[in-house]
């Protein structure tokens, strides 16, 4: 497993509004924007991205599933994308906090929660694109256990291929929840051609699912 630590990408306050429940045409009032700005600054200064990943090419694809040497993935959508891929990227991303948690009121807590989740996704996106760039390949949409047609039990694959504890991430053996909560496990594919098949297009929860942010 490769381990990489990096600073978080620059994030403009306005791009986080959607993650806090605002529609494109709505803007938070100035009192909320002030909290967003100060919280975002604190997160960007005091948090790092910690990523652990492995890239494998020995996987087999069937119409509704794919197999690695350690595990199988039951997912029609992933199998479709994997067909045109040369490599599979198995990754775990987590936020490493450099300072102790601050005592927050409930509004601040909610905003901080949304901003950390957003910052983690942006950092994840950036790192996956960087890995693809270094390999001179395209990277597909990431799939996470519990999303799309991949069961949450898919966390087993993450645990078998990576070493979550080495990143300070604990995956619960029964429920597959992750601690710290600001962690993302995922599988993506790397290929010489763009992998256009995007299951979010057909998904009826795309307006509420975090993964659908990759559509825009």
């Amino acid at each position: 497993m490769y381990i990489v630590e990096s600073i978080l990408p620059e994030i403009e306050p306005a791009e986080t509004f959607k993650s806090l429940g605002y529609s494109k045409k709505d803007k938070p009032p100035s009192a909320v924007q002030e909290i967003i700005e100060s919280t975002l600054e604190r997160i960007l200064n005091n948090t790092r991205l910690l990523a652990g990943y492995d890239i494998i090419c020995d996987f087999e694809v069937e119409p509704k599933r794919l197999h690695t040497k350690h595990a199988s993935i039951e997912s029609t959508h992933m199998a479709k994308i994997a067909n045109s891929a040369q490599e599979m990227l198995i990754a775990l991303f987590t936020l490493k906090e450099l300072e102790d948690a601050k005592e927050n009121n409930i509004a601040q807590e909610f905003i901080e929660h949304g901003l950390k989740a957003y910052a983690l996704e942006r950092a994840q996106q950036r790192m996956m694109q960087e890995i693809a760039r270094q390999k001179n390949k395209y990277v597909s949409l990431p799939f996470s256990p519990g999303y799309c047609d991949w069961e949450l039990t898919g966390q087993e694959l993450i645990m078998q291929h990576l070493d979550p504890e080495a990143l300070g991430v604990h995956i619960h053996s029964q429920t597959y929840s992750m601690l710290p909560v600001y962690s993302i496990s995922c599988v993506s594919f790397l290929g010489y051609e763009k992998m256009e098949n995007n299951p979010c297009k057909y998904c009826n929860i795309k307006n509420t699912c975090n993964q659908s942010r990759y559509l825009s």
Partner: protein, 207 residues
């Protein structure tokens, strides 16, 4: 403009200085028991309505609720539980689930409406739910979960609370739950969101 209108204006515009100036003036000039009924309750209802009607988002709603609770905390009340409610609610996130944002919002709203909340935190074991329900003689146990993989332990927890204290009502909520699932696993009520929380709780208590 009257103080009450000022207070509502301050909430509408999220003007913290104006809000707390008005609060300080009220505290000096009004009987504290009256402030609850004449200012705090209307302020809370006003905020809830604006959120319900999509005039404000969740961050504004929570900020307003926070300020209103700070107002309440400044009052010298004989009975700290507003409206003389003595309802005890044990709250927690089910074992194996570390996601507590929703539970924390629920806790804040319950406290603001005068309920006594015993917060067990997140990743709470079955034993802890049962023991706390007994120890505090809870009227309601609220169990939150965000993960479908907790279903089995959630059902078992509800069953054990039910066996140990049949009179206790059990409510549940979370990302993957709906009314049908809640009913199937033995909960008395599924609470979908912050807007429904108080009316649904009150309905449960009157039935």
């Amino acid at each position: 403009m009257s103080t009450n209108q000022n207070l509502l204006q301050a909430l509408n515009h999220l003007d913290k200085n104006l809000f707390f100036e008005e609060v300080e003036s009220l505290i000096r000039n009004e009987p504290h028991e009256d402030i609850v009924n004449a200012y705090f309750n209307p302020g809370l209802e006003h905020t809830k309505e604006r959120y319900e009607q999509n005039y404000i988002g969740l961050p504004e709603f929570l900020l307003s609720v926070q300020w209103l609770q700070e107002l309440l905390n400044k009052l010298d009340l004989k009975n700290r539980t507003q409206n003389n409610k003595q309802i005890k609610i044990v709250l927690g996130v089910i074992e194996g689930d570390p996601h507590d944002m929703g539970k924390n919002i629920v806790k804040k709203l319950y406290e603001c409406y005068g309920y006594q909340v015993i917060d067990l935190g997140k990743d709470v074991s079955q034993d802890k739910f049962v023991q706390s329900s007994q120890e505090h003689e809870a009227d309601i146990v609220g169990i939150s979960t965000m993960m479908s993989t907790t279903m089995e332990v959630l059902e078992k927890t509800i069953q054990r609370i039910r066996e140990s204290r049949p009179e206790c009502r059990i409510v549940t909520g979370g990302a993957f739950i709906n009314a049908a699932i809640a009913s199937n696993i033995g909960a008395d009520k599924y609470i979908e969101n912050a807007i429904n929380l108080i009316p649904e709780t009150e309905e449960l208590l009157t039935n």
